[in-house]
Structures are given as structure tokens and as C-alpha cells.
């Protein structure tokens, strides 16, 4: 079997630089400067805009677990790359701009469950498990205290006016339908959606 020059060099495990385009100035640095070149890796991941029910596709650029850029997803059938002013500001959910224009993490972004007890002035950090149990308990308690079986005219209404429910643009139609059913089953009549679309 004929062994080519390239095969021979590969098998011998050496690195050889052939003087070629470098001699005409096509490269900015010699191969020996490779270690001093800063290389920045990132990934592109897709997500859905959280602001309204249209559900535009967004491509987020992520480096070291942090979002460095967000743009419309051109391959998403809904928006085909375009974003409205709200979707375009997704980057600012995570980052704000400092005095000289550099992006810094947004200190106002919520990253944990906070609870302020009645008449307290400070927020307490709580776990998700505690929060979900507490919310369920308070819905039940509020419904029990405020439930109206019949109105003043004697008509059966079976409603609770003390609760309100908001749908979510991050959920699809089928999920929001189930949420709506659940809310109605509880007797909630104050129902809306975060995007009103």
C-alpha cells in the first residue's frame, strides 16, 4: 500500500508546518502564537418569548451559563426572525447597562422565592415547596371564606369574588385551557391573561 507524505507524517505523530499562504501574509499570527490567542466559546439555544401569547422564537447566545445576546429565530414559523420591542428587550431581563454602556447582570432579576409576611418590612427567602404549599392553602382558605353559593336574588352562582387568575403567555393554548377550566371549577370569575391577546 502506497504511503503518502501526509500519511507518513500523521503516523509519526509530528506537527509540520509547510510554508504556504503564511508566506504571502494570509495569517495574522504565526502558529507559535496560537497559545496567546484568546478563544471565546458560546452556544446558541432556542427559546420562546415570554411576553405575549404570540410565542415568537428567540435564539439566545449563551457563554459560561450567561446570556450574551438574544435575537429572533429566523427558522421559527411564527416570527421568522423578527421581534417586537418587548421581545427585543429580553436581553435586559438579565442585564442592564452601566454608565459606560457595558452590560452587567440585572440586580432586580428575581432568582429565588421571596415572601414578605403581613406588617413586615423585609423580604424572606423561601423554598419553592413552601411557596407552592402556602399558595394552595391560601387559595383554599380564601375560597372557603368568600364563596357565594347564591346571589342576592337567590340565583345559584357558586363563585368566589375574592380570587383572580392570570393566564400565561409561556403556556400553550391547551395548557391555558386547562388552567381556565380549573379556575372556573374553583368558582373564580376574575380571569384574565398576562398579554390580553
Amino acid at each position: 500500500m502506497k504511503v503518502t507524505r501526509r500519511d507518513f507524517l500523521k503516523l509519526s505523530g509530528v506537527t509540520v508546518t509547510a510554508a504556504a499562504l503564511s508566506s504571502f501574509g494570509f495569517r495574522e499570527a504565526e502558529a507559535s502564537d496560537y497559545k496567546s490567542i484568546r478563544i471565546s466559546y458560546a452556544k446558541e439555544v432556542t427559546t420562546i418569548c415570554p411576553f405575549c401569547a404570540v410565542g415568537c422564537g428567540i435564539i439566545c447566545h449563551v457563554r459560561d451559563g450567561k446570556m450574551i445576546n438574544a435575537e429572533g429565530d429566523p427558522d421559527h414559523p411564527i416570527n421568522e426572525g423578527s421581534l417586537c420591542s418587548k421581545g427585543s428587550s429580553l436581553f435586559n431581563m438579565m442585564n442592564v447597562y452601566a454608565e459606560k454602556g457595558e452590560a452587567r447582570p440585572n440586580a432586580q432579576r428575581m432568582t429565588q422565592v421571596l415572601y414578605r409576611p403581613p406588617y413586615a418590612s423585609d423580604w424572606e427567602v423561601k423554598s419553592w415547596d413552601w411557596a407552592l404549599r402556602e399558595i394552595a392553602k391560601r387559595i383554599k382558605d380564601t375560597r372557603d371564606k368568600s364563596f357565594v353559593a347564591r346571589n342576592a336574588m337567590g340565583t345559584t352562582v357558586n363563585r368566589t369574588p375574592a380570587l383572580a387568575w392570570l393566564g400565561s403567555a409561556m403556556c400553550n393554548n391547551e395548557e391555558n385551557y386547562l388552567f381556565h377550566k380549573f379556575a372556573r371549577a374553583l368558582g373564580i370569575v376574575n380571569i384574565d391573561h398576562c398579554a390580553r391577546l
Binding site: T4, R5, R6, D7, L9, K10, G13, V14, T15, V16, T17, A18, A19, A20, L21, S22, S23, F24, G25, F26, R27, E28, A29, A31, Y34, K35, I37, R38, I39, S40, Y41, A42, K43, E44, V45, T46, I59, E71, G72, D73, P74, D75, E80, G81, S82
Partner: protein, 288 residues
Amino acid sequence: MLHVRDAGDLEKQMLLCRRLYSHFHGIEPLLRDIWQAVVPSSVVDSNRDSPSVERAAAILFAVSDVLARYDPQSAPESRRLAGSLVETLDSVSRHGGLWPASLMDAYTEMSRDMLALDLLSLLTTLLGSALFGGHAACPPGAQAADMDAGSHCPSCGQSAHYASHAFGSGSKVLECPLCFKQWSHTRLKCPYCGNTDSESMGYFSLEGIDRCRVHYCSLCNCYHKVFELRDVEGERPILYLHHLGSLLCDTVACREGFVPGSSLWWNDEVTASTDGGKPDESHSTRLP
């Protein structure tokens, strides 16, 4: 580059590349002289008759003469390489004619025994742009519509080496390195293996060459370059010039263990990592 017929268009694009790539001014005179030696002369027929080995030879020797003026030490090597490429082209095109596919066949055959693959890639792509640039480059009878429009050019079948983002939508537009046709491709999908898992794909850029992102796929280990030029005003950019201005990215990509999905090698090193072998991880700063 040699598919551009207007010197004014070329100058505008060179001015842009001079702004974007810090060392582009070093190769600008060479590229300008290559263009002058090939395009305005009778070497390239403006009536676009069928490509022939004779025309290819005239183009290649004109380019090698320009290269020799800039580096006299490499003159014998450039001329020998041009001659070998002509001979190989003559051999592979004897039955089916001279098409981009036969150009790649000649490249593949010569690359087995060559060290200076980047020079061979330069000659091959310059020849492709002069012979086929901007025109449908299929042999008679070939059904271009059946060609897989993934990484493969819908005109000639060659795999893309670089792309850009379309102004407005931001969709990825691949460009053929031989006939320079452009076509759209899904952003988050490897053009070479069809992988859509974003966890196994990503990109890197080099400090000082922010406009060029090297997109890679860990599944097939291939890379291609994507130029971010959406905020650059003016006419459609000549991506080939941006590619030549960012060749360091190709060298770094190979050092990081990736292989060019187009099969056109633009680095000047031969290591155990080339030709799809085990990547050299010693310098890699790849994310997991």
C-alpha cells in the same frame, strides 16, 4: 473573488475588509494583482463559453505568476503546483468535462500527497470563481433539484465552507466556495450531518476577529465559518474576501480538533488531527 467583474465593487469590499480584519491590508495588494491578472484580460472569457482545461491552465499560471512576484522563494513551488493541478484536472475531466465536481476530484487526489494544502485550496477556489462563479454549474443531464440542499450547493454539489446571516431575518445563508451560489439553511442545524441538538453544537470566535464565528458540531466534528455582517451597510459582501481575511480561524479550528466540512483545508499544518483523525485536545478550551 474572480467572479466579480466590476473593479469598483471589489475595491469597496476590500475597503470593508480592511476595516474589519486588522491584517487584511497585508494581502490586499496581492488579491488586487490576482484580480487584475485574471479578470480584465482575455484569460476569462466574458461570453462564458464552456470551461476548458486550457482556460483553467491560463488562469492558474496567471495566478501563480502573481504569487511568485510576492514571494520569489515560493515561485517554483507555486508554478509546480499549478502545473500539477492542470495535469490532474485534465485527467479527471477527460470523460465528463470540466465542472466543479471534477475540480474537487482533482483537489482530493492532489491533497493526499501534499503538505501545503492551504495553497492548493486557494488555487482551487480562485479557479472555481473564475470558471464557474455566479453561474449554474451542473453538467448536462444532472438534476440540480435532486441535490441535497443541506451543506451541498444546489448548483454544483460542493459543500459550503462559510456562510453569513441574511440582513433582516438573520437566516443562515451558505455560500459555495467554487461556484459562489448562495442558499439558505436552518440556523441551529449542522449543515454536514443534520444534527439539531444545540448541546452538541456551538461556536467560537477569536479576539480581534469578532465578525467571524466558527460554528462546530461535536457529532461529526466539522466546522464552518459564519460572518456576522448584518449591521454593515452597503452592497452584498464578497464573503470570499472575509474568508481570506480570517484564515487564522481555520488554523485555530483545526488546532481545536475540528475538520472543515467542505473538505477544503485552509491550515498549513499536518498533524495527527487532520483528515478526521483523533483531535488534538491539548490546547482545546472547548466547552463541555
